[in-house]
Symmetry: C2
Protein backbone atom coordinates (compact mmCIF):
# COMPACT_ATOMS: atom_id res chain seq x y z
CA UNK A 1 0.00 0.00 0.00
CA UNK A 2 1.23 3.47 -0.86
CA UNK A 3 -0.09 6.87 -1.77
CA UNK A 4 0.26 6.20 -5.50
CA UNK A 5 -2.54 3.66 -5.17
CA UNK A 6 -4.72 6.31 -3.55
CA UNK A 7 -3.92 8.79 -6.32
CA UNK A 8 -4.79 6.16 -8.92
CA UNK A 9 -8.06 5.44 -7.12
CA UNK A 10 -8.82 9.16 -7.07
CA UNK A 11 -8.46 9.24 -10.84
CA UNK A 12 -10.88 6.33 -11.26
CA UNK A 13 -13.31 8.02 -8.86
CA UNK A 14 -13.18 11.39 -10.63
CA UNK A 15 -16.69 12.44 -11.60
CA UNK A 16 -18.17 9.41 -9.84
CA UNK A 17 -17.59 10.17 -6.17
CA UNK A 18 -19.07 13.25 -4.55
CA UNK A 19 -16.60 15.74 -3.15
CA UNK A 20 -18.15 16.13 0.29
CA UNK A 21 -17.99 19.50 2.05
CA UNK A 22 -15.87 20.32 5.09
CA UNK A 23 -18.42 21.95 7.38
CA UNK A 24 -18.04 24.04 10.52
CA UNK A 25 -20.14 26.10 12.91
CA UNK A 26 -19.29 28.58 15.62
CA UNK A 27 -21.87 26.83 17.80
CA UNK A 28 -20.03 23.52 17.46
CA UNK A 29 -16.70 25.22 18.15
CA UNK A 30 -18.11 26.63 21.35
CA UNK A 31 -19.16 23.22 22.67
CA UNK A 32 -15.81 21.68 21.79
CA UNK A 33 -13.61 24.54 22.93
CA UNK A 34 -11.65 24.52 19.67
CA UNK A 35 -12.28 24.83 15.94
CA UNK A 36 -14.08 21.72 14.69
CA UNK A 37 -14.21 20.75 11.02
CA UNK A 38 -16.61 18.07 9.87
CA UNK A 39 -15.90 16.12 6.68
CA UNK A 40 -19.50 15.24 5.82
CA UNK A 41 -19.19 11.81 4.21
CA UNK A 42 -22.83 11.17 5.14
CA UNK A 43 -23.49 13.27 2.03
CA UNK A 44 -21.58 10.80 -0.13
CA UNK A 45 -23.55 8.64 -2.58
CA UNK A 46 -25.40 5.89 -0.63
CA UNK A 47 -25.03 7.94 2.55
CA UNK A 48 -21.54 6.90 3.60
CA UNK A 49 -17.88 6.93 2.56
CA UNK A 50 -18.17 3.29 1.54
CA UNK A 51 -19.01 4.16 -2.05
CA UNK A 52 -15.41 5.34 -2.41
CA UNK A 53 -13.92 1.94 -1.63
CA UNK A 54 -16.68 0.12 -3.49
CA UNK A 55 -16.13 2.06 -6.69
CA UNK A 56 -12.36 1.85 -6.33
CA UNK A 57 -12.39 -1.93 -5.97
CA UNK A 58 -14.97 -2.66 -8.66
CA UNK A 59 -13.34 -0.31 -11.16
CA UNK A 60 -9.93 -1.90 -10.53
CA UNK A 61 -11.10 -5.37 -11.63
CA UNK A 62 -10.24 -6.42 -15.16
CA UNK A 63 -13.33 -6.16 -17.38
CA UNK A 64 -13.66 -9.92 -17.98
CA UNK A 65 -13.39 -10.75 -14.27
CA UNK A 66 -15.70 -7.89 -13.35
CA UNK A 67 -18.45 -8.92 -15.75
CA UNK A 68 -19.14 -12.10 -13.73
CA UNK A 69 -20.17 -9.90 -10.82
CA UNK A 70 -19.08 -9.08 -7.28
CA UNK A 71 -19.96 -10.18 -3.76
CA UNK A 72 -19.60 -8.36 -0.45
CA UNK A 73 -20.41 -9.00 3.20
CA UNK A 74 -21.40 -5.99 5.24
CA UNK A 75 -23.55 -4.62 8.05
CA UNK A 76 -24.99 -2.24 5.53
CA UNK A 77 -22.95 0.74 4.39
CA UNK A 78 -20.33 -1.26 2.49
CA UNK A 79 -23.24 -3.22 1.04
CA UNK A 80 -24.81 -0.10 -0.42
CA UNK A 81 -21.50 1.25 -1.65
CA UNK A 82 -20.67 -1.95 -3.51
CA UNK A 83 -24.24 -2.37 -4.78
CA UNK A 84 -24.25 1.10 -6.35
CA UNK A 85 -20.75 0.66 -7.78
CA UNK A 86 -21.85 -2.63 -9.34
CA UNK A 87 -25.04 -1.15 -10.75
CA UNK A 88 -23.16 1.75 -12.33
CA UNK A 89 -20.78 -0.81 -13.86
CA UNK A 90 -23.81 -2.83 -15.01
CA UNK A 91 -22.68 -6.05 -13.32
CA UNK A 92 -24.44 -8.34 -10.79
CA UNK A 93 -23.86 -7.91 -7.04
CA UNK A 94 -24.56 -10.34 -4.18
CA UNK A 95 -24.49 -8.84 -0.69
CA UNK A 96 -24.23 -10.97 2.47
CA UNK A 97 -25.76 -9.02 5.38
CA UNK A 98 -26.44 -9.78 9.07
CA UNK A 99 -30.10 -10.40 9.89
CA UNK A 100 -30.02 -7.66 12.54
CA UNK A 101 -28.79 -4.90 10.21
CA UNK A 102 -31.07 -1.84 10.12
CA UNK A 103 -34.03 -2.59 7.90
CA UNK A 104 -33.39 0.56 5.90
CA UNK A 105 -29.93 -0.64 4.92
CA UNK A 106 -31.24 -4.03 3.79
CA UNK A 107 -34.01 -2.42 1.76
CA UNK A 108 -31.71 0.13 0.20
CA UNK A 109 -29.26 -2.55 -0.83
CA UNK A 110 -32.01 -4.49 -2.56
CA UNK A 111 -33.37 -1.32 -4.17
CA UNK A 112 -29.89 -0.68 -5.59
CA UNK A 113 -30.28 -3.89 -7.56
CA UNK A 114 -28.26 -6.29 -5.42
CA UNK A 115 -29.24 -9.80 -4.36
CA UNK A 116 -29.20 -9.85 -0.53
CA UNK A 117 -28.25 -13.00 1.42
CA UNK A 118 -28.94 -12.74 5.17
CA UNK A 119 -26.90 -14.53 7.87
CA UNK A 120 -26.86 -14.86 11.67
CA UNK A 121 -24.14 -12.63 13.15
CA UNK A 122 -23.66 -14.81 16.27
CA UNK A 123 -23.76 -18.27 14.69
CA UNK A 124 -22.40 -17.93 11.19
CA UNK A 125 -19.10 -16.74 9.71
CA UNK A 126 -19.79 -14.12 7.10
CA UNK A 127 -16.38 -14.52 5.53
CA UNK A 128 -16.95 -18.24 4.98
CA UNK A 129 -20.37 -17.58 3.47
CA UNK A 130 -18.94 -14.93 1.18
CA UNK A 131 -16.07 -17.12 0.06
CA UNK A 132 -18.36 -20.07 -0.73
CA UNK A 133 -20.76 -17.96 -2.79
CA UNK A 134 -17.89 -16.28 -4.58
CA UNK A 135 -16.45 -19.58 -5.67
CA UNK A 136 -19.78 -21.10 -6.67
CA UNK A 137 -20.74 -18.22 -8.97
CA UNK A 138 -17.38 -16.86 -10.06
CA UNK A 139 -17.96 -13.61 -8.19
CA UNK A 140 -15.13 -11.32 -7.11
CA UNK A 141 -15.17 -10.75 -3.35
CA UNK A 142 -15.03 -7.07 -2.41
CA UNK A 143 -13.87 -7.10 1.21
CA UNK A 144 -15.08 -4.29 3.47
CA UNK A 145 -11.60 -3.12 4.51
CA UNK A 146 -8.81 -5.67 4.18
CA UNK A 147 -8.10 -5.10 0.50
CA UNK A 148 -5.64 -2.67 -1.11
CA UNK A 149 -8.07 -1.16 -3.61
CA UNK A 150 -10.70 -0.63 -0.92
CA UNK A 151 -8.21 1.10 1.37
CA UNK A 152 -7.05 3.19 -1.59
CA UNK A 153 -10.62 4.24 -2.33
CA UNK A 154 -11.28 5.31 1.26
CA UNK A 155 -7.97 7.15 1.19
CA UNK A 156 -9.34 9.51 -1.46
CA UNK A 157 -11.29 11.10 1.38
CA UNK A 158 -7.90 11.99 2.84
CA UNK A 159 -6.74 13.66 -0.37
CA UNK A 160 -9.84 15.87 -0.29
CA UNK A 161 -9.16 16.75 3.34
CA UNK A 162 -5.65 17.89 2.43
CA UNK A 163 -7.00 20.37 -0.11
CA UNK A 164 -9.92 21.53 1.97
CA UNK A 165 -7.84 21.97 5.13
CA UNK A 166 -5.32 24.09 3.24
CA UNK A 167 -8.13 26.27 1.86
CA UNK A 168 -9.57 26.66 5.37
CA UNK A 169 -6.22 27.64 6.83
CA UNK A 170 -5.85 24.57 9.02
CA UNK A 171 -2.27 23.67 9.88
CA UNK A 172 -1.73 21.11 12.60
CA UNK A 173 -4.73 19.02 13.55
CA UNK A 174 -5.86 15.73 14.93
CA UNK A 175 -8.00 13.94 12.34
CA UNK A 176 -10.57 11.78 14.09
CA UNK A 177 -11.90 8.82 12.12
CA UNK A 178 -14.90 6.63 12.97
CA UNK A 179 -13.16 3.25 13.00
CA UNK A 180 -14.40 -0.29 12.37
CA UNK A 181 -12.04 -2.60 10.49
CA UNK A 182 -9.75 0.30 9.72
CA UNK A 183 -10.12 0.78 5.97
CA UNK A 184 -11.08 4.44 6.17
CA UNK A 185 -8.66 5.11 9.02
CA UNK A 186 -5.65 3.55 7.34
CA UNK A 187 -6.52 5.02 3.94
CA UNK A 188 -6.75 8.55 5.29
CA UNK A 189 -3.59 8.02 7.35
CA UNK A 190 -1.69 6.98 4.22
CA UNK A 191 -2.94 10.02 2.32
CA UNK A 192 -2.05 12.44 5.09
CA UNK A 193 1.36 10.91 5.84
CA UNK A 194 2.67 12.27 2.56
CA UNK A 195 0.48 15.27 1.96
CA UNK A 196 -0.10 16.68 5.44
CA UNK A 197 2.49 15.29 7.83
CA UNK A 198 1.45 17.77 10.55
CA UNK A 199 -1.92 16.07 10.78
CA UNK A 200 -2.32 13.02 12.96
CA UNK A 201 -5.03 10.42 12.32
CA UNK A 202 -6.68 8.94 15.38
CA UNK A 203 -9.30 6.16 15.33
CA UNK A 204 -12.45 6.59 17.41
CA UNK A 205 -14.46 3.60 18.68
CA UNK A 206 -17.39 2.89 21.01
CA UNK A 207 -16.89 1.59 24.55
CA UNK A 208 -16.78 -2.25 24.55
CA UNK A 209 -15.75 -2.26 20.88
CA UNK A 210 -12.32 -0.70 21.24
CA UNK A 211 -10.30 -3.41 19.51
CA UNK A 212 -8.27 -0.96 17.44
CA UNK A 213 -7.43 1.29 20.39
CA UNK A 214 -6.25 -1.70 22.44
CA UNK A 215 -4.38 -3.10 19.46
CA UNK A 216 -2.52 0.19 19.05
CA UNK A 217 -1.72 0.20 22.78
CA UNK A 218 -0.35 -3.33 22.82
CA UNK A 219 1.14 -3.41 19.33
CA UNK A 220 -0.80 -6.58 18.50
CA UNK A 221 -4.26 -7.19 17.08
CA UNK A 222 -6.85 -7.46 19.86
CA UNK A 223 -10.45 -8.67 19.66
CA UNK A 224 -13.75 -7.58 21.15
CA UNK A 225 -15.77 -9.98 23.27
CA UNK A 226 -18.96 -9.16 21.41
CA UNK A 227 -19.54 -9.00 17.66
CA UNK A 228 -22.77 -7.01 17.71
CA UNK A 229 -25.37 -5.27 19.84
CA UNK A 230 -24.03 -1.73 19.45
CA UNK A 231 -26.03 1.19 18.10
CA UNK A 232 -22.79 1.98 16.24
CA UNK A 233 -23.40 -1.05 14.03
CA UNK A 234 -21.59 0.52 11.08
CA UNK A 235 -18.22 0.46 12.83
CA UNK A 236 -18.39 -2.72 14.90
CA UNK A 237 -15.89 -5.38 13.87
CA UNK A 238 -14.31 -8.19 15.86
CA UNK A 239 -10.74 -6.98 15.39
CA UNK A 240 -8.67 -4.70 13.15
CA UNK A 241 -7.82 -6.02 9.69
CA UNK A 242 -4.65 -7.94 8.93
CA UNK A 243 -3.78 -5.37 6.30
CA UNK A 244 -5.15 -2.26 7.99
CA UNK A 245 -3.64 -2.84 11.42
CA UNK A 246 0.04 -2.51 10.47
CA UNK A 247 -0.79 0.71 8.60
CA UNK A 248 -2.62 2.12 11.61
CA UNK A 249 0.14 0.99 13.96
CA UNK A 250 2.75 2.79 11.89
CA UNK A 251 0.78 5.93 11.05
CA UNK A 252 -1.90 6.67 13.67
CA UNK A 253 -1.93 8.37 17.05
CA UNK A 254 -3.69 6.82 20.06
CA UNK A 255 -7.33 5.78 19.70
CA UNK A 256 -10.24 7.41 21.49
CA UNK A 257 -13.02 5.40 23.13
CA UNK A 258 -16.42 7.06 23.41
CA UNK A 259 -19.67 6.00 25.17
CA UNK A 260 -22.45 5.22 22.71
CA UNK A 261 -24.74 7.81 24.26
CA UNK A 262 -22.31 10.55 23.23
CA UNK A 263 -22.94 9.56 19.62
CA UNK A 264 -26.63 10.36 20.09
CA UNK A 265 -25.73 13.74 21.55
CA UNK A 266 -23.49 14.41 18.55
CA UNK A 267 -26.30 13.40 16.17
CA UNK A 268 -28.48 16.07 17.77
CA UNK A 269 -25.75 18.71 17.44
CA UNK A 270 -25.20 17.81 13.78
CA UNK A 271 -28.95 18.09 13.17
CA UNK A 272 -29.25 21.52 14.79
CA UNK A 273 -25.95 23.12 13.86
CA UNK A 274 -24.82 21.47 10.64
CA UNK A 275 -28.10 20.30 9.05
CA UNK A 276 -26.54 16.92 8.35
CA UNK A 277 -28.08 13.57 9.29
CA UNK A 278 -25.62 11.19 10.97
CA UNK A 279 -25.92 7.62 12.21
CA UNK A 280 -24.38 6.69 15.59
CA UNK A 281 -21.24 5.10 14.15
CA UNK A 282 -20.84 8.03 11.78
CA UNK A 283 -21.15 10.55 14.60
CA UNK A 284 -18.57 9.05 16.94
CA UNK A 285 -15.63 11.15 15.73
CA UNK A 286 -17.67 14.31 16.22
CA UNK A 287 -18.71 13.00 19.64
CA UNK A 288 -15.05 12.62 20.58
CA UNK A 289 -14.32 16.20 19.53
CA UNK A 290 -17.35 17.59 21.37
CA UNK A 291 -17.16 15.67 24.64
CA UNK A 292 -13.65 14.26 24.96
CA UNK A 293 -11.57 17.24 23.94
CA UNK A 294 -9.27 16.71 26.91
CA UNK A 295 -7.70 13.92 24.88
CA UNK A 296 -6.99 16.20 21.92
CA UNK A 297 -4.27 18.70 21.19
CA UNK A 298 -4.19 21.90 19.19
CA UNK A 299 -6.59 24.56 18.00
CA UNK A 300 -8.17 22.55 15.21
CA UNK A 301 -9.72 19.12 14.98
CA UNK A 302 -11.07 17.46 11.85
CA UNK A 303 -13.79 14.84 12.29
CA UNK A 304 -14.92 12.42 9.63
CA UNK A 305 -18.71 12.15 9.75
CA UNK A 306 -18.62 8.84 7.98
CA UNK A 307 -22.26 7.90 7.45
CA UNK A 308 -25.90 8.88 7.85
CA UNK A 309 -27.92 5.71 7.32
CA UNK A 310 -29.97 5.80 10.51
CA UNK A 311 -33.45 4.48 11.20
CA UNK A 312 -36.06 7.13 11.97
CA UNK A 313 -36.72 5.78 15.47
CA UNK A 314 -33.07 5.99 16.46
CA UNK A 315 -32.78 9.50 15.06
CA UNK A 316 -35.85 10.70 16.95
CA UNK A 317 -34.49 9.09 20.12
CA UNK A 318 -31.34 11.17 19.75
CA UNK A 319 -33.24 14.44 19.20
CA UNK A 320 -35.68 13.80 22.06
CA UNK A 321 -33.12 12.57 24.59
CA UNK A 322 -30.45 15.16 23.85
CA UNK A 323 -31.98 18.41 22.58
CA UNK A 324 -29.17 20.58 21.28
CA UNK A 325 -28.53 23.58 23.55
Amino acid sequence: MNIEMIRAAAQRLEGKVRRTPLLNSSFVDEIAGRRVWIKAEALQHTGSFKFRGGWSAVSALSPDVRSAGVIAFSSGNHAQGVALAARLHEIPAVIVMPKDAPQLKIENTRALGAEVVLYDRDREDREAIGAALAEARGLSLIKPYDAPEVIAGQGTCGLEIVEQAAAAGIGEADVLVCCGGGGLTSGIALALEQEAPNMRVRPVEPVDFDDVTRSLQTGHRQSNDRSGGSICDAIVTRSPGEMTFPLMRDLCGPGLVVPEEDCLRAISVAFTRLKVVLEPGGAIALAAALYHGDQLQGEDVICIASGGNIDTQMFMRALETYPCP
Copy 2:
Protein backbone atom coordinates in the same frame (compact mmCIF):
# COMPACT_ATOMS: atom_id res chain seq x y z
CA MET B 1 -29.46 45.05 -11.50
CA ASN B 2 -27.26 43.03 -13.82
CA ILE B 3 -24.99 40.02 -13.76
CA GLU B 4 -21.89 42.13 -13.18
CA MET B 5 -23.22 42.93 -9.71
CA ILE B 6 -23.58 39.22 -9.05
CA ARG B 7 -20.04 38.57 -10.23
CA ALA B 8 -18.77 41.36 -8.02
CA ALA B 9 -20.68 39.91 -5.06
CA ALA B 10 -19.17 36.50 -5.81
CA GLN B 11 -15.71 38.04 -5.53
CA ARG B 12 -16.52 39.58 -2.15
CA LEU B 13 -17.99 36.26 -1.00
CA GLU B 14 -14.97 34.21 -2.10
CA GLY B 15 -13.62 32.25 0.86
CA LYS B 16 -16.49 33.45 3.06
CA VAL B 17 -19.48 31.67 1.62
CA ARG B 18 -19.67 27.90 1.52
CA ARG B 19 -19.93 26.35 -1.92
CA THR B 20 -22.87 24.06 -1.24
CA PRO B 21 -23.07 20.68 -2.97
CA LEU B 22 -25.50 19.73 -5.71
CA LEU B 23 -26.90 16.44 -4.40
CA ASN B 24 -28.86 13.67 -6.08
CA SER B 25 -30.15 10.19 -5.35
CA SER B 26 -31.58 7.47 -7.54
CA PHE B 27 -34.27 6.99 -4.88
CA VAL B 28 -35.37 10.61 -5.23
CA ASP B 29 -35.30 10.35 -9.02
CA GLU B 30 -37.61 7.37 -8.82
CA ILE B 31 -40.23 9.24 -6.78
CA ALA B 32 -40.09 12.24 -9.09
CA GLY B 33 -39.96 10.36 -12.37
CA ARG B 34 -37.03 12.44 -13.60
CA ARG B 35 -33.51 13.36 -12.52
CA VAL B 36 -33.66 15.65 -9.49
CA TRP B 37 -30.73 17.80 -8.37
CA ILE B 38 -30.78 19.45 -4.97
CA LYS B 39 -28.70 22.57 -4.34
CA ALA B 40 -28.27 22.13 -0.59
CA GLU B 41 -28.23 25.69 0.73
CA ALA B 42 -29.32 24.34 4.11
CA LEU B 43 -25.61 23.52 4.42
CA GLN B 44 -24.69 27.19 3.98
CA HIS B 45 -23.36 29.08 7.02
CA THR B 46 -26.27 29.81 9.42
CA GLY B 47 -28.30 27.06 7.78
CA SER B 48 -29.72 28.98 4.82
CA PHE B 49 -28.78 30.89 1.66
CA LYS B 50 -29.38 34.15 3.50
CA PHE B 51 -25.74 34.46 4.52
CA ARG B 52 -24.94 35.12 0.86
CA GLY B 53 -27.08 38.26 0.68
CA GLY B 54 -26.14 39.31 4.19
CA TRP B 55 -22.42 39.17 3.50
CA SER B 56 -22.85 40.77 0.08
CA ALA B 57 -24.76 43.75 1.49
CA VAL B 58 -22.60 44.28 4.58
CA SER B 59 -19.37 43.99 2.62
CA ALA B 60 -20.64 46.49 0.02
CA LEU B 61 -21.07 49.28 2.60
CA SER B 62 -18.30 51.85 2.82
CA PRO B 63 -16.15 51.19 5.90
CA ASP B 64 -17.17 54.37 7.74
CA VAL B 65 -20.89 53.77 7.19
CA ARG B 66 -20.52 50.08 8.02
CA SER B 67 -18.75 50.69 11.31
CA ALA B 68 -21.90 52.24 12.84
CA GLY B 69 -23.63 48.88 12.45
CA VAL B 70 -26.52 47.32 10.56
CA ILE B 71 -30.16 46.52 11.18
CA ALA B 72 -32.42 43.90 9.62
CA PHE B 73 -36.00 42.69 9.99
CA SER B 74 -36.59 39.03 9.39
CA SER B 75 -38.53 35.94 10.35
CA GLY B 76 -35.23 34.32 11.13
CA ASN B 77 -33.00 33.17 8.33
CA HIS B 78 -32.14 36.63 7.04
CA ALA B 79 -31.59 37.59 10.67
CA GLN B 80 -28.96 34.92 11.16
CA GLY B 81 -27.30 35.65 7.83
CA VAL B 82 -26.95 39.35 8.61
CA ALA B 83 -25.94 38.69 12.23
CA LEU B 84 -23.08 36.43 11.19
CA ALA B 85 -21.98 38.80 8.41
CA ALA B 86 -21.92 41.65 10.94
CA ARG B 87 -20.00 39.64 13.50
CA LEU B 88 -17.38 38.62 10.94
CA HIS B 89 -17.06 42.31 10.01
CA GLU B 90 -16.84 43.15 13.74
CA ILE B 91 -19.72 45.62 13.68
CA PRO B 92 -22.97 45.81 15.73
CA ALA B 93 -26.21 44.26 14.41
CA VAL B 94 -29.80 44.88 15.50
CA ILE B 95 -32.35 42.34 14.28
CA VAL B 96 -36.11 42.99 14.33
CA MET B 97 -37.94 39.64 14.51
CA PRO B 98 -41.60 38.58 14.82
CA LYS B 99 -42.56 37.24 18.25
CA ASP B 100 -43.84 34.01 16.68
CA ALA B 101 -40.61 33.15 14.89
CA PRO B 102 -39.22 29.70 15.78
CA GLN B 103 -37.49 29.94 19.13
CA LEU B 104 -34.37 28.37 17.68
CA LYS B 105 -34.00 31.18 15.16
CA ILE B 106 -34.37 33.85 17.83
CA GLU B 107 -31.83 32.15 20.08
CA ASN B 108 -29.36 31.61 17.26
CA THR B 109 -29.57 35.23 16.21
CA ARG B 110 -28.77 36.33 19.76
CA ALA B 111 -25.99 33.77 20.02
CA LEU B 112 -24.46 35.23 16.86
CA GLY B 113 -24.00 38.47 18.79
CA ALA B 114 -26.96 40.46 17.51
CA GLU B 115 -29.38 42.54 19.57
CA VAL B 116 -32.87 41.13 18.92
CA VAL B 117 -35.97 43.40 18.95
CA LEU B 118 -39.26 41.46 18.87
CA TYR B 119 -42.50 42.74 17.28
CA ASP B 120 -46.08 41.58 16.75
CA ARG B 121 -46.54 40.32 13.17
CA ASP B 122 -50.28 41.14 13.06
CA ARG B 123 -50.28 44.53 14.77
CA GLU B 124 -46.98 46.17 13.96
CA ASP B 125 -45.19 47.14 10.74
CA ARG B 126 -41.70 45.69 10.79
CA GLU B 127 -40.47 48.05 8.09
CA ALA B 128 -41.51 51.08 10.13
CA ILE B 129 -39.82 49.69 13.24
CA GLY B 130 -36.67 48.98 11.29
CA ALA B 131 -36.58 52.42 9.70
CA ALA B 132 -37.04 54.20 13.04
CA LEU B 133 -34.30 52.23 14.76
CA ALA B 134 -31.98 52.71 11.80
CA GLU B 135 -32.36 56.47 11.94
CA ALA B 136 -32.06 56.72 15.71
CA ARG B 137 -28.77 54.80 15.85
CA GLY B 138 -27.24 55.50 12.45
CA LEU B 139 -27.58 51.86 11.42
CA SER B 140 -27.63 50.76 7.79
CA LEU B 141 -30.79 48.84 6.97
CA ILE B 142 -30.13 45.50 5.27
CA LYS B 143 -33.43 44.64 3.62
CA PRO B 144 -34.31 40.96 3.26
CA TYR B 145 -34.79 41.04 -0.52
CA ASP B 146 -35.58 44.43 -2.02
CA ALA B 147 -32.00 45.67 -2.29
CA PRO B 148 -29.54 45.31 -5.17
CA GLU B 149 -26.62 44.00 -3.12
CA VAL B 150 -28.84 41.44 -1.38
CA ILE B 151 -30.21 40.19 -4.70
CA ALA B 152 -26.66 40.08 -6.05
CA GLY B 153 -25.51 37.99 -3.09
CA GLN B 154 -28.33 35.48 -3.49
CA GLY B 155 -27.51 35.36 -7.19
CA THR B 156 -24.12 33.86 -6.41
CA CYS B 157 -26.02 30.65 -5.72
CA GLY B 158 -27.00 30.77 -9.39
CA LEU B 159 -23.40 31.09 -10.54
CA GLU B 160 -22.52 27.95 -8.59
CA ILE B 161 -25.46 26.13 -10.15
CA VAL B 162 -24.19 27.00 -13.63
CA GLU B 163 -20.83 25.37 -12.92
CA GLN B 164 -22.22 22.39 -11.06
CA ALA B 165 -24.92 21.70 -13.64
CA ALA B 166 -22.34 21.72 -16.43
CA ALA B 167 -20.16 19.29 -14.47
CA ALA B 168 -23.17 17.02 -13.90
CA GLY B 169 -24.11 17.05 -17.57
CA ILE B 170 -27.39 18.90 -17.09
CA GLY B 171 -28.57 20.79 -20.16
CA GLU B 172 -32.09 22.10 -20.13
CA ALA B 173 -33.83 22.21 -16.76
CA ASP B 174 -36.44 23.92 -14.70
CA VAL B 175 -34.81 25.48 -11.64
CA LEU B 176 -37.29 25.54 -8.76
CA VAL B 177 -36.72 28.17 -6.10
CA CYS B 178 -38.39 28.41 -2.68
CA CYS B 179 -39.84 31.91 -2.97
CA GLY B 180 -40.74 34.54 -0.39
CA GLY B 181 -39.99 38.14 -1.33
CA GLY B 182 -38.11 37.01 -4.40
CA GLY B 183 -34.50 37.89 -3.61
CA LEU B 184 -33.15 34.39 -4.18
CA THR B 185 -35.48 33.76 -7.11
CA SER B 186 -34.61 36.96 -8.97
CA GLY B 187 -30.91 36.67 -8.17
CA ILE B 188 -30.67 33.15 -9.54
CA ALA B 189 -32.78 34.12 -12.55
CA LEU B 190 -30.39 36.96 -13.36
CA ALA B 191 -27.38 34.67 -13.06
CA LEU B 192 -28.90 31.99 -15.27
CA GLU B 193 -30.25 34.38 -17.91
CA GLN B 194 -26.70 35.06 -19.06
CA GLU B 195 -24.88 31.90 -18.11
CA ALA B 196 -27.45 29.18 -18.72
CA PRO B 197 -30.23 30.48 -20.94
CA ASN B 198 -31.64 26.97 -21.40
CA MET B 199 -32.55 26.86 -17.73
CA ARG B 200 -35.80 28.38 -16.54
CA VAL B 201 -36.28 29.63 -12.99
CA ARG B 202 -39.67 29.00 -11.43
CA PRO B 203 -40.76 30.22 -8.00
CA VAL B 204 -42.45 27.77 -5.64
CA GLU B 205 -44.83 28.90 -2.88
CA PRO B 206 -47.22 27.36 -0.34
CA VAL B 207 -50.98 27.30 -0.89
CA ASP B 208 -52.57 30.49 0.48
CA PHE B 209 -49.25 32.35 0.16
CA ASP B 210 -48.95 32.35 -3.61
CA ASP B 211 -48.54 36.08 -4.12
CA VAL B 212 -45.65 35.70 -6.56
CA THR B 213 -47.41 33.08 -8.67
CA ARG B 214 -50.52 35.25 -8.95
CA SER B 215 -48.41 38.32 -9.63
CA LEU B 216 -46.69 36.54 -12.50
CA GLN B 217 -50.08 35.45 -13.86
CA THR B 218 -51.58 38.91 -13.76
CA GLY B 219 -48.47 40.94 -14.51
CA HIS B 220 -49.01 43.05 -11.39
CA ARG B 221 -47.95 42.64 -7.76
CA GLN B 222 -50.57 40.73 -5.77
CA SER B 223 -50.87 40.31 -2.00
CA ASN B 224 -51.74 37.45 0.34
CA ASP B 225 -54.65 37.78 2.74
CA ARG B 226 -52.59 36.47 5.64
CA SER B 227 -49.12 37.53 6.74
CA GLY B 228 -48.31 34.52 8.91
CA GLY B 229 -49.51 31.19 10.24
CA SER B 230 -47.69 28.99 7.75
CA ILE B 231 -45.23 26.26 8.66
CA CYS B 232 -43.24 27.67 5.72
CA ASP B 233 -42.49 30.76 7.81
CA ALA B 234 -39.18 31.36 6.06
CA ILE B 235 -40.80 32.15 2.72
CA VAL B 236 -44.01 33.92 3.75
CA THR B 237 -44.21 37.54 2.67
CA ARG B 238 -47.22 39.76 1.96
CA SER B 239 -46.28 40.43 -1.67
CA PRO B 240 -43.32 40.26 -4.04
CA GLY B 241 -40.72 43.01 -3.74
CA GLU B 242 -40.85 46.22 -5.74
CA MET B 243 -37.42 45.47 -7.08
CA THR B 244 -37.63 41.69 -7.30
CA PHE B 245 -41.01 41.49 -9.04
CA PRO B 246 -40.03 43.14 -12.34
CA LEU B 247 -36.99 40.84 -12.50
CA MET B 248 -39.12 37.76 -11.88
CA ARG B 249 -41.75 38.95 -14.36
CA ASP B 250 -39.14 39.35 -17.07
CA LEU B 251 -37.05 36.25 -16.34
CA CYS B 252 -39.09 33.51 -14.63
CA GLY B 253 -41.44 30.82 -15.82
CA PRO B 254 -44.81 30.20 -14.13
CA GLY B 255 -44.90 29.68 -10.37
CA LEU B 256 -45.84 26.44 -8.65
CA VAL B 257 -48.13 26.31 -5.62
CA VAL B 258 -47.68 23.42 -3.22
CA PRO B 259 -49.67 22.27 -0.15
CA GLU B 260 -47.73 22.69 3.10
CA GLU B 261 -48.05 19.00 3.91
CA ASP B 262 -46.01 18.14 0.83
CA CYS B 263 -43.13 20.08 2.38
CA LEU B 264 -43.21 17.70 5.35
CA ARG B 265 -43.13 14.74 2.99
CA ALA B 266 -40.13 16.26 1.20
CA ILE B 267 -38.38 16.83 4.54
CA SER B 268 -38.70 13.12 5.23
CA VAL B 269 -37.32 12.21 1.80
CA ALA B 270 -34.36 14.57 2.27
CA PHE B 271 -33.67 13.00 5.67
CA THR B 272 -33.71 9.43 4.36
CA ARG B 273 -32.22 9.85 0.90
CA LEU B 274 -29.99 12.92 1.04
CA LYS B 275 -29.01 13.11 4.74
CA VAL B 276 -29.80 16.83 4.73
CA VAL B 277 -32.04 18.58 7.26
CA LEU B 278 -34.58 20.92 5.65
CA GLU B 279 -37.20 23.27 7.07
CA PRO B 280 -40.67 23.38 5.46
CA GLY B 281 -40.06 26.57 3.46
CA GLY B 282 -36.67 25.22 2.39
CA ALA B 283 -38.18 21.94 1.21
CA ILE B 284 -40.95 23.35 -0.94
CA ALA B 285 -39.00 23.32 -4.20
CA LEU B 286 -38.11 19.67 -3.65
CA ALA B 287 -41.76 19.01 -2.78
CA ALA B 288 -42.80 20.49 -6.11
CA ALA B 289 -40.34 18.25 -7.97
CA LEU B 290 -41.42 15.14 -6.05
CA TYR B 291 -45.18 15.55 -6.04
CA HIS B 292 -46.09 18.03 -8.76
CA GLY B 293 -43.95 16.84 -11.61
CA ASP B 294 -46.88 17.10 -14.01
CA GLN B 295 -46.22 20.84 -14.02
CA LEU B 296 -42.58 20.39 -15.03
CA GLN B 297 -40.90 19.73 -18.34
CA GLY B 298 -37.75 17.89 -19.29
CA GLU B 299 -35.55 15.16 -17.92
CA ASP B 300 -33.83 17.23 -15.25
CA VAL B 301 -35.05 19.49 -12.49
CA ILE B 302 -32.90 21.50 -10.11
CA CYS B 303 -34.35 22.34 -6.70
CA ILE B 304 -32.94 24.90 -4.31
CA ALA B 305 -33.13 23.49 -0.79
CA SER B 306 -32.90 26.94 0.70
CA GLY B 307 -32.79 26.38 4.45
CA GLY B 308 -32.71 23.90 7.31
CA ASN B 309 -33.55 25.88 10.46
CA ILE B 310 -36.37 23.72 11.75
CA ASP B 311 -37.52 23.10 15.32
CA THR B 312 -37.10 19.53 16.54
CA GLN B 313 -40.83 19.02 17.06
CA MET B 314 -41.67 19.99 13.49
CA PHE B 315 -38.94 17.76 12.12
CA MET B 316 -40.14 14.77 14.13
CA ARG B 317 -43.69 15.45 12.98
CA ALA B 318 -42.49 15.20 9.38
CA LEU B 319 -40.64 11.93 9.95
CA GLU B 320 -43.48 10.34 11.93
CA THR B 321 -46.30 11.45 9.65
CA TYR B 322 -44.57 10.72 6.36
CA PRO B 323 -42.05 7.90 6.73
CA CYS B 324 -39.99 7.77 3.56
CA PRO B 325 -40.81 4.69 1.47
